[in-house]
């Protein structure tokens, strides 16, 4: 059992939990993830570790409520327990001196990129972080990112803050301005990572992406997370989750992520319906705490 020490609502549907998990905190490195199962009936889902505190023995996860499991997770509160958390999993980000690194993040990827830029910066890299969101209210961790970057560029789809456009708009501007970028690291929604991959390929800039395929055990046992990289099948859970962006078969990844779309919707609808009923029947119900 893993106790939720604190909970923070970061943006609409985006929540941050600090969870007691001393062994994971002690051994986690940038780029790694955990498998989470909320309760005995829960599924196992991968979530990137967004930070650790070794002294307090805690890890931080940040997630967006998208389907049944993340919505359920989002209903938990401080002091509640999560049944199972396994980690840290996956190969950590390779931390070395690249020169100038453009770290690109979208959605909850913004939280997940934080440990990566911390480590890379400590290694002497110059960090230009580009974060993208649909609008200004969805920008996460702006101050923390700013403190840990040499330069921060914000882009919003609607132009409500920073550059109007996508992260790739900002990245291409930098390149065209003649800023020498030695490596690009991208984490976030698949279409975003794919666009970054396409752009960096055009300009021959090495790029790494952190992939988020469906996983079950997360330890290499089942192959649910297989992705084709450079024509070879790789297991993202044990051989990733980071890969050379230019070699990823993006069409396949997108198709495989939609594998259970209908069933996921069914589960989500059932959850929402039950919770609504539950609310009417029982106003004391714990699941409605903020």
């Amino acid at each position: 059992m893993f106790k939720i020490i604190s909970k923070e609502v970061m943006a609409h549907n985006v929540k941050s939990y600090v969870i007691s998990a001393p062994d994971i905190a002690k051994n986690a490195k940038a780029g790694q993830f955990v498998m989470v199962r909320i309760d005995d009936k829960g599924e196992r889902v991968p979530l990137t570790i967004a930070g650790t505190d070794i002294e307090k023995g805690s890890i931080r996860i940040i997630f967006q409520e998208a389907g049944k499991t993340t919505k359920h997770l989002g209903r938990l509160g401080e002091g509640d327990f999560i049944k199972d958390i396994l980690g840290p999993l996956g190969i950590p980000t390779e931390i070395k001196k690249y020169g100038t690194v453009a770290a690109i993040a979208g959605g909850v990827g913004t939280a997940e990129v934080l440990p990566v830029i911390n480590y890379l910066r400590a290694e002497g890299n110059k960090i230009i972080t580009i974060i993208g969101a649909r609008n200004k209210d969805l920008i996460l961790l702006e101050n923390e990112i700013k403190q840990n970057s040499d330069e921060l560029i914000i882009t919003t789809d609607d132009g409500s803050k920073g550059v109007k456009g996508f992260v790739t708009t900002a990245l291409e501007d930098l390149i065209k301005k003649g800023v020498k970028i030695d490596m690009v690291y991208a984490i976030g929604p698949v279409p975003m990572m794919r666009s970054v991959s396409k752009l960096t390929k055009e300009y021959s800039i090495p790029a790494f992406v952190s992939l988020n395929p469906i996983m079950v055990d997360g330890t290499g046992m089942c192959g649910a997370c297989r992705v084709t990289v450079d024509g070879r099948t790789r297991f993202a859970c044990v051989e990733g989750p980071e890969f050379d962006a230019h070699k990823v078969d993006w069409d396949e990844l997108i198709s495989r992520l939609a594998l259970f779309k209908e069933l996921e919707k069914l589960s989500d609808d059932k959850f929402t319906k039950e919770r609504n009923e539950c609310f009417e029947d029982n106003p004391e119900c714990k699941c409605h705490r903020k």
Binding site: N27, L86, V216, M221, G223, T233, E252, R256
Partner: protein, 462 residues
């Protein structure tokens, strides 16, 4: 000589509607009658065929004498998981193969009797904890599958303080995530685990040694010896075109979803599974049979089992392939997939196969299949399960210094199952084991080696 008493089983049309056990076990009368067939050889060959050296005539004699409590004592003396072994061991290739009665007639139903005694005990006896004097020496077992559980059980009985580390959220390894409930009911497994817990064994779940903690961490925590039974990891794929299309699963994924994650009860349980209408299972082992029979129980209209050799060469137990056929699994033999075909959304819709023929025997002694040119044909399907075997799990060996592996990724061990690192032992699929009972045999052997290793250590460090 009276004939072997058949194992009672539920009719196929009834049992395919649920996940409950197929065979129902001997009644007392049947068990006693079967036990009475044993001629109690002076030099029993059956024991030589048992990887954990159970006193087979001994436990059978007590059943014949209706002294079931004594019978289970004899079994548990050597076997920590008799209710499991009575169900899933391939007795026909081991103890029963050696049985003298088998030369002229039918061997004794040793497995059936083992199951009878274990089930009787689970039903009628409270857990009786053997008298153990703790020696306060801490040992760690990594992995809670058959190898780890056996090793842990023997070490606990010998007085060691055993902690088992498991990466999944439940105990049992392949016994829980792999073998379906219709062959090994969960409550049977849970009872065996309760017995092990009664020996004082501690279980730590959600702990992947190598990642959550290192073997070095375990040493620092005071564990004086470590057994590695991390099992088979990565599923084997065919490496043919279209293999990553949607609804093509490894048997591990398919079975983990159903067995461990209870996806058959989706959406009550959160893990989804696609149930399939025309299912194709590739492979001819027990896991292929388990997958095919699971697909039938999930409601598939048709399940084909595609195998590149003939039924004679299938590695599955005869009992399992027999049950599969009874339940409606269609065997398509001498057939091999060359390509998977998908629809515009990336879901599998067919398999392109070739016909095969058998030639001279290969290194495994089985006749080697070769493809017949221009024999390509198409099998339509909407769900494919690949049951092609597994490679050893690389996580722990790759993250533990000094733990050498061979070219297949198996951990290299000496005759005593000690790895290249003193104090670290290994057994089961991670060193190249194959069956549950082989893994258990290795777990047992390793426990003995660990005891002698620990006794040789100077007192202050041991």
């Amino acid at each position: 000589m009276p004939q072997k008493i058949e194992m009672p089983q539920r009719p196929a049309d009834q049992r395919t509607k649920d996940f409950e056990e197929v065979t129902t076990g001997y009644s007392e009368k049947e068990a006693v009658a079967e036990a009475a067939r044993c001629i109690q050889c002076k030099a029993p060959q059956c024991v030589k065929g048992c990887p954990v050296n159970i006193d087979i005539p001994g436990f059978i004699k007590h059943i014949a004498g209706k002294n079931y409590e004594e019978s289970i004592k004899v079994l548990k003396d050597k076997n920590n998981l008799p209710a499991v072994c009575g169900r899933v061991c391939p007795q026909e290739n081991q103890c029963e193969k050696m049985c003298i009665l088998g030369k002229k007639g039918e061997a004794i139903g040793i497995g059936y009797l083992e199951r009878f005694a274990s089930d009787w005990a689970n039903k009628n006896l409270d857990l009786v904890k053997p008298n153990i004097t703790s020696n306060s020496i801490k040992v760690a077992v990594v992995g809670s599958g058959p190898a780890g559980l056996t090793c842990a059980g023997d070490l606990a009985k010998a007085g060691y303080e055993v902690t088992v580390f498991e990466s999944l959220h439940d105990i049992g390894g392949v016994l829980r995530y792999g073998i379906p409930e219709f062959r090994l009911p969960i409550n049977v497994l849970d009872k065996e685990i309760d017995f092990l817990k009664s020996l004082g064994i501690k279980f730590v779940l959600n702990c992947l040694i190598g990642r959550t903690k290192s073997v070095e961490d375990l040493r620092k925590e005071g564990f004086k010896a470590v057994f590695v039974g991390t099992g088979a990891g990565l599923p084997v794929f065919l490496n043919v075109e279209g293999e990553n299309l949607n609804h093509i699963y490894s048997a591990n994924e398919f079975l983990v979803r159903v067995n461990l994650m209870r996806a058959f009860a989706f959406p009550e349980y959160d893990t989804p599974i696609y149930k399939g209408k025309n299912v194709a299972v590739i492979g001819g082992g027990n896991t292929a049979m388990d997958s095919a029979r699971t697909a039938i129980r999930l409601g598939a209209a048709s399940v084909k089992l595609i195998y590149r050799r003939t039924e004679t060469e299938m590695p599955a137990r005869v009992e399992e392939s027999h049950h599969a056929k009874e339940e409606g699994v269609e065997f398509v033999t001498l057939t091999n997939p060359v390509k998977f075909l998908g629809d515009e959304k990336g879901f599998v819709k067919a398999i392109e196969c070739v016909k095969m023929k058998l030639t001279e025997p290969d290194e495994s002694g089985r006749r080697k299949p070769v493809k017949i040119e221009n024999s390509n044909f198409v099998i339509e399907t909407d769900l494919v399960v690949l049951a092609l075997g597994l490679n050893p799990n690389p996580i722990l060996p790759s993250l533990t210094q000094g733990l050498e592996t061979d070219s297949h990724g198996y951990i290299i061990v000496d005759d005593n199952l000690m790895t290249r690192v003193p104090g670290i032992f290994a057994g089961g699929d991670i060193v190249g084991g194959d069956t549950v009972i082989q893994a258990m045999g290795m777990g047992k052997k390793a426990a003995k080696s660990m005891e002698s290793y620990l006794k040789q250590q100077p007192l202050e460090s041991a």
